[in-house]
Amino acid sequence: MSAKTAPVWLTAGVVPLVNVAVAFLAAGLVVALIGENPVEALQIMLRGALGSQYGLGYTLYYTTSFIFTGLAVAVAFHAGHFNIGGEGQALMGGLGAALVALSLPFLPWPLLLPLCVLGAAAAGAAWVFIPAYLQAHRGSHIVITTIMFNFLAATLLVYLLVGPMKMAGSMAPETARFVPAATLPLMNQMAAWFALTITRTPLNLSFIFAILAAVFVWVLIWRTRLGYAIRTVGANPDAAVYAGISPRRITVIALLISGGLAGLMATNEILGVQGRLINEFTAGAGFVGIAVALMGRCHPFGIVLAAMLFGVLYQGGAELAFDKPKITREMIIVIQGFVILFAGALEMMFADRIAALYARLTGKVVAA
């Protein structure tokens, strides 16, 4: 009988915190094992990620990408599907943004910029359409098809960037620079509009987009009829059919939204930072999104928090690798791996015990 409940603050607050603490403990052991001081390492990481405007800017810049890809996974998950193609959809989002930016450079920015953002979302959605259609109408498993589409996206991008879209005269696989009207302002530029000075980092307007996207997903899933249909299909497809909700239609719609969100990740990297389309710009953010969504329990609020945690890990990890030559980049990946392991994959490992402890303390009997 799984029909048992513990209060939300316990399952959504204490349990993830304990999981993260255990992950850091395990990572600390590894750090100690190679002869470094784990406490010092943690300090460097946290200071590097949160201790300065510079560090914070980078942390939030990474966070932005993870929010988009995490939300993408979550929306598909609510419809009962595991979209692990965020990586490919984000790459295509970059292509969509670049196509708009390069083909309509004469437009004024109030037109061009929104079109570029839409182009990113539309291309991400388009890239998931075939897997979504095959899943809905042919039952081809979305996990397999989206993995394949990740490879296709990566190779397609390479082909375009060394061929048709390559900037003339350049040796690198990249397009020409976009006109300024097609790029997002950096946070320090925006601060300057209000006569504030902050350190220049890659953090840009798309961070605000990411927060808005989280609000959008929350409203969509819990406050709209479509969200209700998505959750019904995800939880009980037979009940959906009975209710007159078409699981096929909803599957396709939910996955298109998911792909669109993944595509928006490109606004951060391509429209915000690079100002041109480059190869492999997603740098694994699509996959981190899976861990972020799992850890955030597919709730936008949790996803924003989890994305920040991974932002801290990325930025703090980079600082740590820089400060402590013994701790290499690979070590940082190990630490991230622990977080994914304990907070994502093993998220239930301590949940029962914590619930039992809570029950003992309060005299109520619950289980998570």
Binding site: Y228, R231, A239, G244
Partner: protein, 513 residues
Amino acid sequence: MPPPAIQMTGIDKRFGAVHANNAVSMTVEKGTVHGLIGENGAGKSTLMSILYGFYAADSGTIAINGKPSLIRTPADAIHSGIGMVHQHFMLVETFTVVENVMLGAEGGVFTARGASAVRAKLRALSHAYGMDVNPDAVVCELAVGELQRVEILKALVKGADILILDEPTAVLTPGEVDTLFVLLRRLADEGKTIIIVTHKLKEIMAVTDRVSVMRRGAMVGTVETRNTSPADLAELMVGRRVMLTVEKGPANPQGVVLDVKDLTVRDARGTVRLDHATFQVRAGEIVGIAGVSGNGQSELLETIAGIRKPAGGTISLNGTMLDCGGGDDPTALRARGLRHVPEDRHRMGLVKQFEAAESAILGCSDEPGFGAGPFLDRDAVLADCIRKMASFDVRPADPTLRTALFSGGNQQKIVLAREIERDPRLLLIGQPTRGVDIGAIEFIHKRIIALRDAGKAVLLVSTELDEVLALSDRVLVMCGGKITGERRPEDTNEQDMGLLMAGVSSDAPKVAA
């Protein structure tokens, strides 16, 4: 005299604000069949779950055969000789009977030895209790009654002396019920102790030695079955006298609402499930469909409700021919005033993970009353659910509680409230009172009859023959996907119906529709 097989004393259990068991004590003598009855949500399943170690009681003690026992997990319960047969069978569908019974007792890396040991035990038990089950049959090919026997055998092979059966007859045909009861008596005569939870007083009278009654979390009494009557038990359960018979005036049928002609349905494998069914339902009448479950009733309901595509035939609603499997999907049909209470509430009628209020708008989530444009107005949804819960006396009346946490009968009331409160022109209703207590049955029957008297058309499918005969103005009998006969309830009897249900044509006169 030996000590009682089970002595539960002062069992207390709360779920948040719900006091599911309030200082409950219950004694069950060895070698008896003991009934446990009570309204929906009275706490029967909770009490049995505590006995079987699913839940830990907040306080109270359990003694098995006079020995105080600490039962914390089902493993403890099995160790103490307690076995449980769940209403929803816990069998692996693709395994054979032997493989299922062997689960948890495979006996080493290779399963051959465990299998032969289990096979021997199975043979001995089947022989001792007259249960014939083919040990090599694959479980998904067995009938419901046989599945239940496998569950019972599973418990016995594990050495159970005490068997708990939670609503074991809800899914059985009348014949299967009889077989089960013969078996239970025999087990009790051999010294086993049986606890049976049920809502059917007839069965309590037929098979039990004593019966305990729960009301709102408390034990209100234990009586000797031979010293009581269904009416007395009902009064103990509900706290007032309950109408055990349905009272209804004559029907006043008006124009045809549902007109089904030559409706034929095939399943995914192409097997004919519904064979040229032809009938009509008029406004202001209840047409009942009787039959052993699995004879095409589900397919009939689902096809009319727009969930299945027919292979042939036509359906007209209010004189308009429906575009079955095309434009007339469940949503379009609801707009035309068709409402549908599905037979299996867990599979289709509810989303167990949703809060009750969300389950209560399943299929109505697009109605304008629940929000503007694409948005759902949570306050409106909650308010609507509170209203429905009040009018159907759903307990606890908490619209934010997860659907899965309501007792079976209360879940059913949520589905009924959702469909009936929407003022249907045609109501399709499958198994309206499965798992529902007698107080609620009385209430549900009244609502169905009130609907009829308000000039609505009702098509009722139930495997409870008594229910079909009591409610319907006309009864159609189905067997093997065909409609094998039509009767007026006053012109037939159980024997006549039984023959029709078995597909044997009977020479009783057919009544004009």
